[in-house]
C-alpha cells in the first residue's frame, strides 16, 4: 500500500522469461469436493483426545499409571464412573440438541446457559407452589414450565433476528448474563436457603419432584437419561422423514428457495429457535431435578457452551450430537477423576479447548487444501527483454 512506481511494481513480479523454475507459492483454497466432513471432524477430535491423554502426565504431579487408572475408573471402568458419565451426559446431550436444531437453519443458539438458568428457575419456582402434589403431577408441570421459560427466553433474540436481522449470536449470548443475574437475585434473595456447605443455593424443590433412579445392571442413573438418549433419535427421524424436517432441510440450504416454495420461512425460523430454547430449559430442569435438587448458579457449568460446540462439531447431525456428547461426557468425567490424584480442573479445560481446536482443524482440512503452483513443463522461448 505504499506508493510504487509502475516499473518497480513490475520488477517485483517479473523475471526473465527464460528461467525454468517459477517461485513456488502456496495458497489455501477450497477443495472442489470437500472430503467427508464428519469423518475428519470426529477423527480430529479423537486424535486430539489421544494426544491430550499422552501428554497429560506431564502436567500433573501424579505418575502416568495413576493418572490413567484413575481416568479409567472414573469413567468407563467402574459403575460409579459410568454413572458419572451418564449423569453429565444428560444435560450435555440436550444442550447439544438445543444448539444443533437451530444450527440446521444456520441459526446460532449461544444462549443455552441462559435458557438452562431460566428453565431451572421456572421449574423451581413452580415447584414451590405444588409442594402438596404427587410426583406424576408435579414433574411434568415442572418440565413443561422449564421448556416454556427456555422458549420465552430465546424469543426476543429470535424475533429481532427474523424481523430486523439482528445477529442472534450476540443477543442470545448477552441474555446469558441477564439470566444469571436474574437467577442470582432469586437465589440470594426471596428463595435464599442458608447452606452449610457454602455457595449459593435456593430452597430445595419438593422431594416428589426428584427424578427417580433407574437401575440397569447395577448402573444407577436418574431416568432423565432416557430423555437424553431418545430425543436425539426422535429429532433425527423427524428431520429425515417428516414434513417439518424436509422444510428445515430446504430452508436451511436456501431461504430463498423456501420462500419460493411457499414455505413460511419466518415461522419455521421462529419455531426452530423456540424448540432450541425449550430444550435448553429442559436441560436446566433435568439438572435441577436429577442432580442438584436446589436452584444454584452452578446448575450449568458452561454446559450450554459445550453443547454449542458439540453441535457445530457434529455438523448439526443429531446422532453425531449424541455420540459426541457421550464422548465429551467421558472427557469431563475423566477430568473430575484426575483432580483427586493431582490434576487440576483448569488444565482439564485447557485440554478440552485444545481438543476442540483439533476438531475445527480436522474440518478445515476436509474443506480446504494447500495449492502449489508447479513450474511450467516447457521453458518459454521468448527472448529476454533488456531489463
Amino acid at each position: 500500500m505504499t506508493a510504487v512506481s509502475p516499473r518497480s511494481a513490475l520488477s517485483n513480479y517479473t523475471r526473465p522469461a527464460r528461467t525454468r523454475s517459477s517461485r513456488l507459492r502456496w495458497r489455501i483454497e477450497r477443495r472442489a469436493q470437500p472430503l467427508n466432513l464428519g469423518l475428519f471432524r470426529f477423527g480430529a477430535v479423537f486424535l486430539g483426545i489421544l494426544l491430550s491423554l499422552a501428554v497429560a502426565p506431564l502436567f500433573t504431579s501424579a505418575s502416568a499409571s495413576t493418572l490413567y487408572s484413575s481416568m479409567w475408573s472414573g469413567t468407563l471402568g467402574t459403575t460409579t464412573g459410568l454413572e458419572n458419565v451418564l449423569t453429565i451426559a444428560i444435560p450435555l446431550v440436550l444442550c447439544g440438541l438445543a444448539a444443533s436444531i437451530p444450527y440446521r437453519l444456520q441459526l446460532w443458539n449461544v444462549g443455552i446457559d441462559g435458557q438452562i438458568y431460566m428453565g431451572a428457575w421456572a421449574a423451581s419456582g413452580i415447584s414451590y407452589h405444588l409442594t402438596n402434589q404427587r410426583s406424576f403431577i408435579i414433574i411434568p408441570i415442572m418440565l413443561l414450565a422449564a421448556m416454556v421459560a427456555g422458549g420465552l427466553w430465546i424469543l426476543i433474540p429470535t424475533l429481532a433476528r427474523v424481523f430486523l436481522g439482528v445477529s442472534e449470536v450476540i443477543t442470545t449470548f448477552l441474555m446469558n448474563f441477564v439470566a444469571l443475574g436474574w437467577l442470582m437475585y432469586w437465589a440470594t434473595g426471596p428463595w435464599y436457603a442458608p447452606s452449610a456447605a457454602g455457595g449459593v443455593f435456593a430452597i430445595a424443590i419438593p422431594t416428589q419432584a426428584d427424578l427417580g433412579l433407574l437401575n440397569v445392571h447395577n448402573v444407577v442413573v436418574n431416568w432423565g437419561i432416557l430423555i437424553a438418549l431418545s430425543l436425539p433419535l426422535v429429532f433425527w427421524a423427524a428431520n429425515r422423514y417428516s414434513r417439518w424436517g424436509y422444510e428445515i432441510t430446504m430452508i436451511g440450504a436456501s431461504e430463498k428457495a423456501g420462500r419460493y416454495a411457499g414455505m413460511n420461512v419466518k415461522r419455521t425460523l421462529i419455531t426452530t429457535m423456540l424448540i432450541g430454547g425449550a430444550l435448553g430449559g429442559l436441560a436446566g430442569a433435568l439438572n435441577l431435578m436429577g442432580t442438584n435438587y436446589q436452584l444454584t448458579p452452578g446448575v450449568t457449568n458452561n454446559t450450554g457452551f459445550n453443547g454449542l460446540i458439540i453441535a457445530v462439531l457434529a455438523g448439526a447431525n443429531e446422532i453425531g450430537v449424541l455420540v459426541l456428547g457421550l464422548v465429551y461426557s467421558v472427557l469431563l468425567s475423566a477430568g473430575d477423576a484426575i483432580q483427586v490424584v493431582g490434576g487440576s480442573a483448569d488444565m482439564v479445560f485447557a485440554v478440552i479447548g485444545v481438543t476442540l481446536i483439533f476438531g475445527t482443524f480436522g474440518e478445515a482440512y476436509a474443506r480446504l487444501h494447500l495449492v502449489r503452483t508447479r513450474p511450467p513443463e516447457v521453458p518459454a522461448t521468448k527472448p529476454v527483454d533488456a531489463a
Partner: protein
Amino acid sequence: MNDTLLVASIASAISSSTAVLIAATGELLVEKTGVYNIALEGVMLVGALAGFLADLATGSWLLGLLVAAFAGGLFALLYGVITVLFRTDLIVVGVALILVAEGITSTLGTSHVGQSAKSVIPIWNVPILSHIPFLGPAIFRQSIVTYIAMLLPVGAAYLLNRTRHGLNMKAIGENPDAADTSGISVIGWRLFYTTVGGAFAGIGGAVITLGIVKDWVSDVTAGEGWIAFAVVFFSGWQPGWIIVGAYFFGSLSVLGDVGQALGWPIPSEFFTILPYLGTVLVMILRAWLQRRRGAVSWPAALGLPFYRG
C-alpha cells in the same frame, strides 16, 4: 448521597471503565476489518497475568503493560491464524481458546493468588484542573493510562475516517473481494489488526491487575472482556459510541456497589445485568430505526471467512 461519595463514585467509574475502553477500541478495529474476536475475555486474562508477572519480576508497571500487550497480541494472533488463515469456525475456536486461556492462566497463577501487584499504575493529579471543586477530584485525578484511554477512540475515529489506510481497512470489512482486487492484503491486515486488538485487550487486562484490582485471582477479569465485546456491538461500530458505552457500563457497576452501600431497594444484580440487557435493546432499536437504509449497520463481511474468487 453526599458529595464525597458521589465524587468517589464518579472517579471510580471512570477508572474502572478504562480496561473496557481500551479493549473495546481494539476490538472495534478488529471488527472493522471483518473479524470478531470472541476470545476477547481470554486475551484480557492472558494480558492480565502476563502484566502482573512482569510487574512482579521487574517492579515496573510500565514494563508490565508492555509485556501484557505483547502477550495479548500473541494470543490473539494465535486466534487469528487459526480462524482467519485456516478458515475455521470463529465461535468454536474462540470459546475453545477462552477455555485454554482460563486453564493456563489459572495454573500459572496459582502460586500468586491474592498477591498484590508490586508496582501499581500511579494516579496523576492534573495540575490546576484537579483542584477544581468537585469536578477536580472526580475527573482529574486518574492515572495517565486512563487519560490515554480516552484518546484512543478519537485516534481510532481519525484513522478510520480521515486516512487512506482507514478507508482500506474498512473496505476489507465491508467487501473483502473489492479490497483484494484493489491490491489490499485481506488476510494480512486481518491478522495484523487481530494482533493489535489483542495487544489492546492485553493492556486492558493488565490495567485491571495493575491499576484497578491491583492483585491476582484466577478470574480477575470477571467478564470485562465480554463487556468490552458487547460495547462494540452497542456502539454500532462508531468510535464515539464506544466511549459512551464503556463509561456507561462502567458507571452501572459502580452504581450497583453504591446502591448496595446505601441500601437502595434496587438489587445489585439489576445493575450487573443492565449492560447486557442494554446492549440487546440498543441493537434492536438501532436495527429498527435503520431498517429502511440500503446497507447494514455492521461491517458487511463481519465473521465471514475470505476466499479469493
